[in-house]
């Protein structure tokens, strides 16, 4: 594929790996967090960590929007989905995230009309095709997907589609990063900034990371060369004693972000005072809800939801795993109460989460170290 294969060139990858090896100080250990689930996926898909020296460790961050949805929110969604006459729509990867009584796929098996959509506009189309049914869209995602939800809501309002509503679970990227950085036991040396989120918010919001916390940030694209180059740029900053926000993904991310997208978000959404993140607890001003002008499209208000908080089990230590303080197997419930089949914390929910990856491949990874 043109414009794709160029960013997957193995030879260039080896060259970058050589530069990385030349940049690191032998004997020093580096922990770099990739904030975004998309980066985690690339690292996993292309085996990028294989190309890194043993003393450069990648830590998976909190940026997988489906994994961070807490059980109580899934339960609320299932309560809506099982109301008579409701068509419940959500993205595919949300369907397998467990609540306290199973997943949306389980609810579907019990008779709920749960449908996978690829865009919120698909959900709106379903609403127009089924005027006698209530169609609910379970909106998730960071600033990447929030604009398309906002535009869909604007259109629904303009066209007066009365049977469409939305459960808003949109979250924002800066507050969880700040929460991680505030932690006294943080052991991260730098951050690979989220490329897709940054196409919307720009590079500016990440300035606090070098300014207030002294850690470099490089906003990166999602092809393997993008990720490797971002790692190289972070290590270069550390070697040079610099600490700033750099933009590796300039072909897509403008410094100011996408002002039109930000405008429509500001019109449709407002900040929630606080929101619960699976594994991370409550983080203030970390999520969006519909603004008062759109209250009648808010499924939580239209139907009412149980809103019961299902606490993460006390022993779950996702927060510590995310901060790089402990390794997955050091968590008290890892491999016993918390497994990929019965996941408790965010790190086990997604197959690419740190714990799920270790559960499935830890034995192999260790053999690789020994080799």
């Amino acid at each position: 594929m043109r414009f794709v294969d160029e960013f997957r060139d193995a030879e260039l990858g080896r060259a970058l790996a050589g530069q990385i090896l030349a940049t690191v100080e032998p004997g020093r250990h580096y922990k770099v967090m990739e904030v975004c689930g998309g980066h985690t996926h690339s690292i996993y898909k292309y085996g990028i960590d294989d190309l890194l020296p043993a003393n450069v460790e990648l830590v998976h961050g909190p940026g997988c929007p489906v994994c961070v949805i807490p059980m109580g929110r899934v339960d609320d969604g299932i309560a809506l989905a099982t109301r008579p006459g409701v068509i419940f729509t959500c993205f595919g990867d949300m369907m397998r995230v467990p609540g306290s009584e199973g997943t949306f796929l389980d609810a579907k098996a019990r008779g709920a009309d749960v449908r996978m959509v690829y865009s919120p506009l698909d959900a709106l189309r379903i609403a127009k095709e089924n005027p006698a049914r209530e169609v609910i869209f379970f909106a998730i995602g960071f600033e990447t997907t929030a604009p398309s939800t906002a535009l869909t809501l604007k259109r629904a309002k303009a066209e007066g589609v009365a049977n469409f509503s939305c459960v808003c679970n949109h979250v924002t990227i800066v507050p969880p990063l700040r929460a991680l950085l505030e932690s006294p036991d943080l052991r991260l040396d730098g951050f690979i900034g989220p490329g897709h989120v940054s196409t919307v918010v720009g590079a500016r919001p990440f300035g606090f990371i070098p300014a207030d916390y002294g850690r470099p940030v490089v906003i990166a694209g999602f092809e393997p060369l993008d990720v490797l180059q971002a790692i190289q740029m972070i290590l270069r900053q550390i070697a040079d004693g610099r600490c700033e926000v750099e933009n590796q993904y300039r072909r897509v991310v403008p410094y100011e972000g996408n002002l039109r997208a930000l405008e429509v978000m500001a019109e449709v959404f407002e900040l929630r005072p606080h929101f619960e993140w699976r594994g991370l607890g409550f983080i203030s001003q970390s999520a969006l809800r519909l603004s008062d002008a759109y209250a009648d499209l808010d499924a939580e208000q239209r139907f009412g939801v149980p809103g019961v908080r299902i606490a993460d089990p006390k022993a779950c230590q996702c927060g510590e795993v995310l901060k790089g303080v402990i390794k997955p197997w050091e968590c008290k419930v890892f491999g016993t109460a918390c497994t990929p089949e019965h996941a408790i914390g965010t790190c086990m929910v997604s197959p690419e989460g740190a714990c799920a990856a270790y559960y499935n491949y830890g034995r192999f990874a260790r053999e690789r170290e020994v080799v």
Binding site: G47, D50, F91, A109, T144
Partner: protein
């Protein structure tokens, strides 16, 4: 990783717990059937190995081949059965009727059996247009002629509108075991080369596109075809050096490799760059965030051949019409047993695990 001291006693204990849990026979504990049980991944495996196989106590069934072999008065016969519930029933490159014949033929073929006869059971939905039914009957007849299998028995049922999607087709296939075949899911040996008979992921992609939910348009056709000619060529070229074959249907090539790595207790290493892929399939899979190795095929086999015969076998395979793009995609190793590893085109490695259920498009 921090240092060799990472390998502590506690970590080893945790790894042992996981290993024990993994090696246990799966138990079927789910409260209800979900779509994941039909997707060919871990949930399907739990259903089959946890509920069905123990219930019937057949060692032939327990070997989990694509067909079971029964010997009657010295004649070895292969028996297989399958159901077809595809939606829509017609799609670019084929239809449910062709699929039913070829799917049955292929389960026999990859078991090393020459297809001989089949039964056909039709479950029809009230209101199905007679013309549509006639077209499928014609498709079945045509595919059976091409594949050299005779439809010798059948049944029809009609259910109320809404109780099935247009039509469901069930088949049973009977084949005669080829004397050249020495195949077994336990037959993989370190050093074996892995061959696929052509580009992967076409059928599943064609179906996804034909459902029209994606708003994508691309020229992708199902690959439904009889694999007997390919099997015949491989048996002639490799004989007993052909250790195992599988028809890479639901769950795709990745699921087949995982099943066989487990069954034989070997490691399977795939070179991703060598896996043949149509550009349109690669593009659609890229957009959806789905790995083509997990997408269903309906006319692709995966074969394991001893290294000294692999070149001859590949040449023989490529000479079969429809298999011109057959390729060697990897090799069997010893460590780590039961796992499938991928050498990525970018130069890294990863584990290619079994899926739990259907591959779901990702947003993040």
């Amino acid at each position: 990783m921090s240092a060799p001291d990472a390998v502590t006693g506690r970590e080893q204990r945790i790894l042992d717990i996981i290993e024990t849990a993994r090696s246990k026979r799966p138990r079927f504990k789910d409260a209800q059937i979900t779509m994941a049980h039909g997707a060919g991944g871990k949930a399907t495996q739990t259903l089959i190995e946890g509920l069905l196989v123990p219930a019937f106590g057949s060692s032939t069934l327990a070997s989990l081949g694509d067909a079971g072999v029964v010997t009657i008065d010295g004649a070895a016969l292969a028996l297989t059965t399958d159901s077809f519930v595809v939606k829509p029933i017609r799609f670019p490159g084929g239809s449910i009727g062709e699929l039913a014949v070829n799917g049955t033929v292929n389960d026999l073929a990859v078991s090393g059996a020459r297809p001989v006869a089949m039964s056909l059971s039709l479950v029809l939905e009230e209101g199905l247009a007679a013309q549509e039914l006639a077209a499928e009957v014609e498709a079945i007849a045509g595919a059976a002629r091409t594949a050299g299998i005779e439809v010798i028995s059948g049944d029809t049922k009609v259910v109320e509108r809404g109780r099935c999607d247009s039509m469901y087709v069930s088949t049973t296939g009977l084949g005669q075991l080829d004397p050249r075949a020495a195949l077994s899911p336990q037959g993989l040996r370190p050093g074996d080369r892995i061959l696929v008979s052509g580009p992967v992921g076409n059928h599943g992609t064609a179906i996804m596109l034909a459902r029209g939910e994606l708003g994508l348009e691309a020229e992708v056709s199902s690959d439904t075809r009889s694999l007997w000619p390919a099997v015949d060529a491989l048996l002639a070229a490799a004989g007993a050096d052909l250790h195992c074959m599988r028809d890479a249907t639901r769950g795709g090539v990745a699921s087949v490799l995982n099943e066989l790595a487990r069954a034989s207790g070997v490691a399977v290493v795939v070179r991703e760059a060598d896996v043949p892929l149509d550009p349109a399939v690669a593009g659609a899979a890229e957009l959806l965030g789905i790995d083509p190795m997990y997408i269903a095929n309906e006319g692709k086999l995966v074969a394991f051949v001893a290294p000294e015969t692999a070149g001859t076998a590949l040449a023989a395979l490529r000479a079969v019409p429809g298999c011109e793009q057959a390729s060697e995609i990897g090799e069997v190793k010893t460590e780590p047993p039961g796992m499938v590893l991928v050498e990525t085109g970018f130069g890294g490695r990863r584990v290619m695990d079994q899926l739990v259920g259907d591959p779901l498009p990702r947003i993040c």
